[in-house]
Subunit: 273 residues, 3 copies
C-alpha cells in the first residue's frame, strides 16, 4: 500500500518544518534517549513533571507523552493534571503503559489514566496491551477469559482496545499492529537487536508524540513513529550492529537524525488491511 | 586577544591537576552527560539532591552547579540549602535557569534562587537571561518593556544582569557573550549541530562549574567552559557529524576528554571588548 | 587458578539461557547504563522505586540491586521494603553503598540497610568499604582505629566485613578483591580509563546482580561480574580508547554484549588465594 507510506513519509517533512514542542512526563531510565530522539526526528522535547508546572507546560506544547516506566505517586498526579489540560485544549495525549500487568500500582495507574484522560494513542507491547484489554473485567493482569481475546492475537486485541477506548492502539513486536478501530496497519520494519537496548519502546512512543505534534491524524502519526523506529533499527544494525549493543544504541539516534522522506518511501514496510 | 585565551587554556591544566569536586543538583534528563563531561574535563562530579545531605556535600565540594531543567519542590529546597552553604563557605555557585520564562514555577524558582543565593555565574540562552533581566518589573516572562533591553541585544542584557546581580552572566547562542559587568568576552566557537543534542547547555554549565572549582576568577572560568564546549562541538562535528546526532553526542565527550592547552590556544576564538 | 575462571565463565552461559529479571533501585545518574549493561550481559532489567510497588516487583525478580548514588528518603523506604521482601523470598540482594562516608545521610542509610537487610553481595571502593568496616565503632567515616584494618589493606578489610555481615564483599580498585570470608579472589582485569566514565562502579554492581540472578553462589557471581567489567574495560580501550571517554563508554556496553565463555576463559585474570 503506497498511500499510508507516502502519507507517513510526508508527515516527517511537515514535522521538520513545524518543530513541535513535545511535553514528556516519563521515566528516568530512558529520558535522555527520548529527548534526543525527539530532537533527532526534528521536534523539540520538554520534560517537566512537577505538579506546580506540568499543566502549564502541556498548555504550550503540541503533544503530551505519558510513560509510567518509573511510575511514582508524585508524577502520576502530574500526568493526570497534564492529561486533563491536554484534553481541554485538544492537545494529543500519547500513553505508554510500561509494565502494565506487572504490579498493582501500575495496573491502577493505567486504569486511572485511561479513565480520567482521553488518550489519542496507546502504545505498548503485547503483554501490556493485553492487560489493558482485560481491564473491564474483575481480574488483574492479562485476562485470557474474554472470548474475543485469543493469546497472540495482537490484531483482535488492538482493535478491541481501540473501540473500547476510542483511541489509536499500537502493539509493537516482531510485526507492529496499529489501528484506530477501523483502519489497520502492520509494520514489518525492525530488528531483533532493538530488544537489546533499553528504552526502544519508550523512544518509539516519543517519536509518535513528535509526529502527533506535527499532524492531525493520530493513526498516521503512530504508523510514522513506529515505522521510523523500526527502520532506524535496521539502519543502525547495518551501521553498527556488529560492534555491539552500545554502538547500535548510538546508531539508532544517528539513523533517526538522518531519516528523510526518501528513505521512508524506499524502505518502510507498512501494509494496510 | 591572546590574554584571555592563554589564561583560559592555562586554567584547564590547573583544573586537571586539582581535580576539583563539583556538586550538581540538576535535572534527570542530562545528568549522565553532565557527570561524564565533568570527568572528561578532569574534575570529579557528585550528584546529591536530598535535603538531608545536599549542604553537607556542597561543603566538601569546590563548586556547586544548580540546574532547574526538571525542577521540583523537593530539589528546589535542596538547591537553596546547598546554595546558602556554598555562600557561607565561599564556594562558587553556577546557576543554569533552564526554561526560565516557560512556567510560573520556573519563574518563581529562578527569582527565589537569585534572591536568596549569591550566584557566581549565571548561564542561559537569550530567552532565559532576557526573562531574568526583566525580573525586577511586575511582568512575568520576558520583559521587553524595559528601555535598556532591546530584543536581540545579548550584550546589553548580559551586562545589565551582571551589574544587577553582581555576577558573571553568560548568554550562549551563535556567538556566546560572557561578562562580569566590566570585562566582556565573545566566543565564536561552536557548531549548529550542538542544538540537535539535548543537554549541551547543561553540559556547558557543568564545565563552567568544573573550571570555577579550579580557579578564583569566575569570569575566566565561564569563558573557559564556554569555549571548551564550543570547540568540542567543532571537533565532534569533524569526527562524527556526518554519522548523525547520536555519534556527534558521543564525540562531544571524546573531544572534551582529549582537550588540552595546545588545542585551546590554537582553536579557541575568544574576543574581549 | 582455572577453576574459578571456568566456573565464572560457565555462569555467563547459564545467565544467557535463564535471562533473569533484575530489579534495581538505583540512582538517576547512571541508571540507563545499568539497564543497558544488564541487557548486554543477557539479563532483563526492571527499575521501580515507588513504595507502592517496589516489593511487588522484587517478588517477581531473580535479584535485587540497591544503589544509594542519589539517595533520597522516598527511595530509601522502597529499598528497605524491597530488601525485606527479597530476604523473605530468598532473592539475593546486592548493595552498592555509593559515597558511604561522604555524608551523614549516606552513613545512616548504609547502616540502616545493612542492619535491616541481609545483603548477599556488598560492592564498593576502598573508601566506601572501609567506612563500613568501621561502622561498629562510634566514629563516622573511615575508622582507622580498629587494629585489624590497616590503610590500603583491602584484603583484610574485605574479609573482616564479610565475616561481620556474613556476605560476599568486593572491593574494586586497581586489583579487585572478592571474598565470602573463606574464599578469596583477586581480579586483575581492568583499565584505568574506567575511572573516566561515570557509573562503571554502578555497572559492575548491576552485572553482579545479573550473575546473582543466574546462579546460587554469590561469590562466583561477584567474581564473574567484576571480571566481566574489568575485561570490558580492556576490550573497550582496545576498540575505542584512543577516541576519548565518550567512545570508550559506548564500547564498554559493546564489549559486554559480545562477551562469551571463550573470551572469559582466555582473558579473565582471576587468582584465588
Amino acid at each position: 500500500m503506497r498511500d499510508i507510506i507516502k502519507t507517513a513519509a510526508e508527515l516527517l517533512t511537515v514535522l521538520r518544518n513545524k518543530k513541535p514542542l513535545v511535553h514528556n512526563i516519563t521515566n528516568y531510565v530512558t529520558v535522555n534517549d527520548c529527548a534526543n530522539i525527539i530532537l533527532a526526528v526534528g521536534a523539540s522535547p520538554i520534560m517537566a513533571d512537577d505538579l506546580g508546572e506540568a499543566a502549564d507546560i502541556t498548555a504550550i506544547s503540541s503533544a503530551l507523552v505519558l510513560n509510567i516506566g518509573t511510575l511514582n505517586r508524585r508524577t502520576l498526579e502530574s500526568m493526570l493534571a497534564s492529561g486533563k489540560k491536554a484534553n481541554l485544549l485538544g492537545i494529543p495525549v500519547i500513553f505508554d503503559p510500561v509494565g502494565a500487568g506487572a504490579s498493582a500500582l501500575r495496573n491502577e495507574a493505567t486504569k486511572t489514566i485511561l479513565t480520567e484522560i482521553k488518550v489519542g494513542v496507546l502504545r505498548g507491547n503485547m503483554s501490556e496491551i493485553s492487560h489493558i484489554a482485560g481491564l473491564g473485567s474483575n481480574t488483574k493482569g492479562v485476562d485470557a477469559s474474554e472470548e474475543d481475546i485469543a493469546a497472540g492475537d495482537a490484531l483482535a486485541i488492538a482493535v478491541s482496545v481501540s473501540k473500547k477506548l476510542r483511541c489509536v492502539t499500537a502493539i509493537t513486536g516482531a510485526t507492529d499492529i496499529i489501528t484506530d478501530g477501523n483502519r489497520i496497519a502492520a509494520v514489518s520494519n525492525g530488528h531483533k537487536m532493538l530488544s537489546g537496548v533499553t528504552g526502544t519502546g519508550c523512544m518509539t512512543t516519543a517519536l509518535i508524540g513528535a509526529y502527533c505534534g506535527a499532524g492531525e491524524d493520530a493513526y498516521t502519526a503512530a504508523v510514522a513513529g513506529i515505522a521510523s523506529m523500526g527502520l532506524a533499527g535496521e539502519l543502525a544494525y547495518e551501521a553498527a550492529g556488529g560492534k555491539g549493543t552500545g554502538s547500535f544504541h548510538v546508531a539508532i539516534i544517528d539513523a533517526i537524525s538522518r531519516l528523510d522522506e526518501k528513505i521512508l518511501l524506499e524502505r518502510a514496510r507498512i501494509h494496510e488491511k
